[in-house]
Symmetry: C2
Subunit: 200 residues, 2 copies
């Protein structure tokens, strides 16, 4: 990681809440990458691992700055344990992603049909000519019309982890869409301008 | 873990999908336990850690049984890596839960208001006299009426990880409910027959 991270005052609770969101997304993406055999999804896990490193550093800084008295130090020391455990989660999901990128494919003998609960997850870059540019997720009404949800957006190296109805799509946004195959195919094409190739 | 786990033929993909669901739930619960300062939620993480151990053992068995040829072995060996990484995730969230149970409380100096995105998460045991007994989640229509969702149910040591509209509540079910404070208070009281005490 070459990015420099300066101290800025931020609530430790808010930082923990962000780490929670990222950790959940990393689990989701790393397993989805295995189950759907998707290198693209695995690569997003590695992007999130970097983001988690930055958050951990910020949390460390905030904890050090918040500790003024022996009582503070006593109360805050366990939080360092939580940050350390989070690093293990992040590393482990990163390991899963790397295994996928190193080309794991379950042999046909045990490639059973996917449980129906597992929907498709796809990474789509917003084409500057897409009709989605400048639209909000609420305005597009994707979920109602196609069953497809935008679960996270990466924009210029920053993450929008819980995009909502007001979130506007911009050119070159990388959007992670989840939903049923047919819905995802249409949304992918409208986003990227390219045909969707489902995992086989 | 004293529970004995026998081999039964199960698809590795299905086992991985279950491990994904449990890992996501463990992350969610362990961080929620920290953020809401809830021992009850932390205890559910330790229950899930046991469940994950069983799943890992089953996955190991299925992998060993599925490996008939050198090609199989080559393709399946990396899956053992994924199972190992999952164990790290499970252990790390268990560590977080144990820190919560050992009584971590963020000092007032940094106890900022919770980000609004963090809803309350509560564990409620279904009282045999509750009006919820025998009702389906769909029939109760909780989410529409109160904003509260049942995210998992523990029933006689087994987990229902993705309860849906058809899931019926039974006496002594342990239900994890998530939602806004006011909604959770009402649902908790209807479930347990006891008043809800919010975390302070």
């Amino acid at each position: 990681m070459t990015r420099e991270v300066d101290y800025e005052p931020r609530s430790v609770k808010r930082l923990l809440a962000e780490m929670k969101d990222i950790a959940e997304l990393m689990i989701d993406l790393s397993y989805s990458a295995v189950l759907l055999d998707s290198d693209e999804v695995a690569e997003e896990v590695l992007q999130l691992e970097d983001e988690m490193d930055v958050l951990q550093l910020r949390t460390h800084m905030s904890l050090l700055m918040a500790s003024r008295t022996p009582d503070d130090a006593e109360a805050l020391a366990p939080v360092l344990g939580i940050v350390g455990a989070t690093e293990k989660v992040s590393d482990a999901t990163g390991d899963i992603a790397k295994i996928v990128l190193e080309d794991i494919r379950l042999p046909d003998a045990i490639r059973a049909a996917l449980p129906e609960a597992v929907e498709t997850l796809v990474r789509a870059r917003v084409d500057p000519d897409s009709r989605f540019v400048g639209e909000t997720l609420g305005g597009l009404n994707l979920e109602t019309e196609t069953g497809v949800r935008a679960i996270a957006i990466r924009r210029a190296g920053e993450w929008i982890l819980n995009p909502d109805r007001e979130t506007q799509l911009e050119p070159d946004d990388v959007v992670l869409f989840r939903g049923p195959d047919e819905g995802v195919a249409g949304v992918y094409q409208s986003t990227t301008g390219e045909a969707y190739l489902p995992p086989d």
